[in-house]
Amino acid sequence: MIGLLILFTFLAIIVVALGAILSKDITQSVMLFMGVGLGSVVLFFIFQAPDVALTEAVIGTGLSTAVFLLGIRHTSQEEAES
């Protein structure tokens, strides 16, 4: 049963990561990358590493997404200017 859950999570991570690679919109791809982080949180928790899961939840899905989005806002402004 737990193996099936792990398998499902792995599949979801692969699908979301492929979506992040293939999507044309860069903001959408950052959002899908956040989904990869969420899936790995579940995996870390199943594999009995709650400390790492907490770190991933805060940094991987919270701060890094925010920093990515701010960076995108930055660079797209510069591109529009030139």
């Binding site: 737990i2 193996g3 792990i6 398998l7 792995f10 599949l11 692969i14 492929l18 690679i21 293939l22 709650p50 400390d51 899961a53 907490l54 770190t55 805060v58 940094i59 919270g62 701060l63 925010a66 920093v67 701010l70 960076g71 806002r73 930055h74 402004q77």
Partner: protein, 242 residues
């Protein structure tokens, strides 16, 4: 046209590779159970009984591998310095241009910020009892500041207090390590009383909660500064363009 074909081929190869990887792990995944190997983890778990912390990971991070934590904190400090050096080069104007924020956002962000900071402090203080610790709690506190900055661009942190907290906690960390060296002949020696009987209580584990609180202050202030630089630089740029 050619590029398109190449991309498609790449995608097919990529999906085939990932499915092959999945299939090869399938056999392993279906029989996951808690094996009892004799590994380094068991040795640490046995040693953990001496440090009297309920969370074994914390005792490894702050005690057995304490030097690594010092290194991590140093790396974080260097990263913060780099961000500050890179992003603070634009000339800073004092308070300018106020965008009207909505009332709901104004009240709600402040309400949420207090809750998030409370949660971060909880994670930091209970680092030796439950999952989490200084790094995670510090980042949670920084997330609260991120929310505040996103809701209100006119907000600014007082850098004096942040720098003071960051440097004081850093020096206190080194001081704790050195006191351990003098008293116990080990760097980061656990010189405070840590009876094993008190395991699981809030005040237990000797210097381990102290170290985690110091790390929490340091990480929280550094991350807040990074977030502030990222948002503020953007904001000032907008002001200049307008």
């Amino acid at each position: 046209m050619n590029l398109k074909k190449e991309l498609r081929l790449k995608h097919i190869i990529l999906s085939l590779l990932s499915s092959a990887l999945l299939l090869s792990f399938l056999g392993l995944l279906m029989q996951v159970k808690t094996n009892t190997y004799k590994t380094v983890g068991d040795i640490f778990l046995n040693l953990n009984m001496q440090t009297a912390t309920a969370n074994a990971v914390t005792s490894v991070v702050t005690f057995f591998r304490g030097i690594d934590t010092v290194g991590e904190v140093t790396v974080l400090f260097l990263a913060t310095s780099g961000v500050a050096l890179m992003l603070s080069s634009t000339q800073r104007t004092s308070k300018k241009v106020v965008k009207q924020e909505s009332f709901v956002l104004h009240v709600g962000s402040r309400l949420l910020m207090s809750v998030i900071i409370l949660f971060g402090v909880y994670i930091v203080i209970h680092g030796h009892l439950s999952p989490g610790g200084g790094f995670q709690g510090g980042v949670v506190i920084a997330t609260a500041f991120l929310l505040l900055f996103l809701a209100n661009p006119n907000m600014s942190l007082s850098h004096g207090i942040l720098t003071l907290g960051e440097s004081l906690s850093g020096s206190a960390y080194v001081l704790v390590a050195l006191i351990g060296l003098f008293k116990m002949n080990i760097l980061l020696g656990n010189f405070l009383p840590h009876p094993v009987g008190e395991i699981g209580e809030l005040v237990s584990g000797g210097i381990i909660p102290v170290i985690y609180i110091l790390v929490g202050i340091k990480v929280g202030s550094e991350m807040s500064v990074i977030v502030e630089y990222f948002i503020k630089e953007d904001y000032y740029k907008e002001v200049y363009d307008a």
